[in-house]
Amino acid sequence: MDHLAGKRHLWFALSAVLLLPGIFSLIVHGLNFGVDFTGGTLWQVQFEQGVGTEQIVQALSANGRPEATVQQVGAADEHRYQIRMKELRAGSEEKTQLTNAVNGIAPLNPGGERLDTVGSVVASSLRTRSILAVGAAAIGILLYIAWAFRNTQRPMLYGICAIVAMLHDAIFVLGVFSLLGWFFGVEIDALFITAVLTVIGFSVHDTIVVFDRIRENLHADVGHSFEDVVNYSIAQTLVRSLNTSLTVILTLAALFLFGGSTTREFVLALLIGVVIGTYSSIFNASQLLVAWENGEIQRFFGRFTRRAPSASPDTA
């Protein structure tokens, strides 16, 4: 903990290592979108006794639903199965027919049924709204931070660094879920977007606490270098950041372990997001401020922008 800001290049490299597998998976495999985004039906049924998934597949296939896939969910003694298929309308004759067919395998518990059907129009509008919501959240927070830090030299810089750290966290969570989708078939639903938006809020919440300290210390000790002020501020807020995250992680872990299967993936997304959000507020957001103040970011990007115009006079 001696000089966190001095090792910033190490942290940027670590972030790159953390993000790369997820980004690779996002590019190669993408996200495993659930019915909320693709349209279709998720049908959960509960039997009074255990049955084989193939029996359910056969029963559905024999009734004109060859596309249906079946998966057991929840504890084994709950005998719950999740069926995924193209749109099946609640209240339709086909629904009654399929219920009868499935009931023919073993008696169903009517109270344990769950049917989610999403039309394709609704699904595609959800996709657009999700992107809009994340964009609106980013802009809203950017503006608020710029306003809250209006008395500093570069208010927008604080906002931009917080947003970069936030995108870092959002991409990490998306990446992990892309990998989970790839290897374990975990799907993305509307609740997942909610989790990502919450992670964004939490990440910024955490970053602001550090930034606030920097602002305060800048006013107090004018003599120190900016890098020293940032380092001192991180050291001062480190225990608080870890303790806060620990309390949130404790509550989320309780939800993850004991909260039931419906919200498990939602809570997992929050859990991953809180951990990465704490990391990025300490190791990224404030370090970006230093890198900008020292002109490192400008030099880094200058290498690309300067090369093109400087090449032309030589050849002329």
Binding site: G119, V122, Y144, I208, T251
Partner: protein
Amino acid sequence: MFSRHGLMLALIILLTAVSIWVAMPGDRWDINGFRADHPARQGLDLQGGLQVLLEARPPAGVKVDKDTLSGTRDTIERRVNALGVAEPLVQTRGNNLIVVELPGIDDPDAAIAVLQQTALLEIIDTNGQPLPEGTLVRTTLGDPSSTNATPEAAGATPVPVETPPPDAPVFQTIISGSDLSNAYPTSDGQTGQLVVGFELSGDARGKFYDYTSTHIGQPMSIVIDKRVISSPQINAAISGQGVITGVPANQVKDLALQLKSGALSVPLEVVSSETVGPSLGQDSIDKSLIAGAIGLASVALFMVLYYRIPGVLSVIALLIYTAITFALYKLIPITLTLPGIAGFILSIGMAVDANVLIFARLKEELRTGKTVAQAIEAGFDHAWPSIRDSNISTMITCIILYWFGQFTGATIITGFALTLFIGVAVSLFSAITVTRTFLRLLVDAGFVRSSWWLGLGRDEAAFLAQQRAMGAD
């Protein structure tokens, strides 16, 4: 000083007592049925039920606008009320969607069939008797099961939700919804009073003229789904267009909407639906309660071990926070869903955050040599900007989440956003006002002598006490 903190403490105790009273289940100590009127609302995923997103699919050439849609919504609302569902929700979304939520319904398939029926609008001859609003009637336009009264709504056979008694008189239907071409609120040229204007199409003009010209001075009734919604009196013979006068000004718009949507009889398609069985919901409630209790207990344990006296106070503040939040859920009211509970549990963590910030500051201030009382005040003052800024950013996210949830038609997301927002807002009060008052009172009462109690190391606390003693000499 003591009396001011004492007053604050009294207020906190009073607020807590009221909150616990509002939040507690059952009807013990209920006053005037207040608690019975403010029950805890559970979402579909907790108590089971049905949510459907209906899309208006008008026949070719007919356009659906917001007005017709809200007319259709009113019709659905009436049917849903007739189903006897507690706390139903019927809302329009955009220009062509209607969301219906029916918690705790037993037979979702039958409910969907009822929702999807096209509204059947009729104007009936009441044989001179004025029928009060809400009366169920039988009309010549068919026995519910046999007639298809609105031919343009292909395939949809209108069936009323409730059937009137079989021995009720059968009234003559003069015209039906398809005979109306338009309806709108307007004002009477002579009196300036708000009235409902309407226009008739084709054959109906003659039929309606014949009837109205012979029944001047008598009442007729406007009926939707066999239920009387208005009984105006015939003042003059009407052929092409007419007005309905004597409707209370605040009901003019509604009646016009009813007529207009009845005229269109827009078929509704189910575009999305969600049904949850009741036993699944109960299972979720049990599990969430266990998770919430374990989460709260582990946070409490951590706070007490790490921050000692302030930790104990923050746990008490957290319990008060829980009581106030649950009371607000009932009062506002907020429909609790599984993600909503997750939002609440998450906000417990965030509520503690404000205290963590303050206590960390408190330690720092003690180390600079301040007295315990000074350190408490400085700790709160210096921690405030961080708490404010970070919580406002969370609130911004909540507002955007709420907006996002509105469009998806899912109360699941709006529920999460609302509970998190309320949690953050209440935590600002509990973590700051409540904890601060407790700490001040303890210091005033002389309980906190050593700064060890405020989380400092034993040696450090002894050293600081010594320093201060020397300074005082």
